[in-house]
Amino acid sequence: MKVKLLSFGITKEMVGSFEKNLELPSGTTVEGFLEILKSEYPALKKLTSLRIAVNEEYAEGNHEIMERDEIVLVPPVSGG
């Protein structure tokens, strides 16, 4: 299935671009996706924390990713 990945802050540098279109096995969970991503971009392992948002909401590890989801990498936030 096709998904869109957006990377903000330091993760944009770690994965190489702001926006990527990815092909994932159907049934991939957020946790599974993070494993795939960290093996492809080991720099991500250096982060203090890394959360995933799916369609503008934070998603738990067992959340199942669906076709055409917008997945966002959320490294440690620092607003304010």
Partner: protein, 141 residues
């Protein structure tokens, strides 16, 4: 229906008067405003600028959640949360939070809750620009 929350994410200068006026009402006795400002140093190192970026739609919805939660958690009448993005100079204002309540304690608590939570959950990131380079704040240990 009267709006009790006011959320703004913008590239332009924030207005303290606008935030404070939004939360003002005849049935409130106190307003507490928190104004974040860009400091000239961090851990003893001179900061030139801060560059803020946001995942905009989610940043707005997370700020709205915080304002709504603060109203439910404390006896607060209205909340405004305004955040600026882009490149900010020392002394400029990245964030303003305003809370109003009948009795002042609730407004102090709600305002503190909102800025503490914003710094934990709202997808906004800042880069500190030093004389000798740039760093994404808190990204790595």
């Amino acid at each position: 229906m009267e709006q009790h929350i006011n959320i703004k994410l913008t590239q332009t200068v924030l207005s303290l008067e606008a935030c404070s006026a939004f939360v003002s009402a005849d049935n409130v006795g106190g307003i507490v405003n928190f104004v974040g400002t860009v400091r000239n140093q961090t851990k003893g190192k001179k900061v030139l600028k801060l560059d803020f970026e946001a995942y905009e739609p989610m940043a707005v919805s997370e700020m709205a959640k915080i304002a709504q939660q603060a109203i439910e958690k404390y006896e607060v009448h209205k909340m405004a949360i305004h955040h600026r993005i882009g490149m900010l100079e020392v002394g400029e204002i990245p964030v303003i939070i305003a809370a109003s309540s009948a009795h002042r304690k609730a407004a102090f608590e709600a305002c503190q809750y909102a800025i503490d939570t914003l710094k934990e959950t709202v997808p906004i990131w800042k880069r500190e620009v030093f004389e000798d380079g740039e760093v994404w704040v808190s990204a790595t240990p």
